[in-house]
Symmetry: C2
Subunit: 123 residues, 2 copies
């Protein structure tokens, strides 16, 4: 069989990114934002948002016309869990080899690193 992903899948994440930008979103809101990036059917977005609600990433509340959705978990926390999952899966839980990759292949300026180091120095 196939285990359900413990983190957001690619298209779920795409939707959550849109939802996190606003306080509340309807299916139509998300649908229209998503259309700017790629072709998709309204009902597809609806189905995915229903799944996201079942997975506890979204909360649904009844308004007059359409359902109103809002994030059930802060972006920070969800993305953090994705990073942790990635580090576990790919680097057996140790973050520094990932750091090396980032520095060597992702055009991080020395300023970026100093900025980060400064953050780290005064907790």
């Amino acid at each position: 069989m196939r285990r359900r992903s413990s983190t957001l899948t690619e298209h779920e994440l795409e939707i959550m990114k849109i939802v996190w930008l606003h306080d509340t979103s309807t299916v139509r809101d998300v649908y229209e934002a998503l259309l700017e990036k790629r072709k998709v059917a309204y009902t597809t977005v609806m189905t995915m948002m229903k799944v996201l609600e079942q997975k506890k990433y979204l909360k649904k509340s009844q308004a007059e016309r359409a359902y109103v959705y809002r994030p059930a978990q802060p972006q920070r926390q969800v993305i953090g869990a994705m990073v942790r999952d990635f580090v576990n899966r790919v680097f057996n839980g140790s973050a520094s080899p990932l750091l090396v990759h980032l520095v060597e292949e992702h055009d991080l300026s020395r300023e970026d690193l100093e900025e980060i180091a400064r953050l780290r120095r005064k907790p």
Copy 2:
């Protein structure tokens, strides 16, 4: 439909990690290494390695008894592609917010950062 993953899936990665540790591996080698971590059938490993060969992550060559597999791409490169994919998907391609996550939640020592910064300073 569902697009084929452009990077290694969870269990594919698990197998590749074992293969990268050695020059050559048979299905049995990988099967036995994998068994230490979790229950799995021999033929499951075989099927997955066949898939990995089709996806060009493994090269197969005929030996006397069993097929001998070796990595078709260096670990460095494959993991690098996974990091890039992750950064693109989760952080819209920018690495520094990922850095912030790592520093704030992944127990990176100041030494780690200084080590990295040193790498970065003298290219």
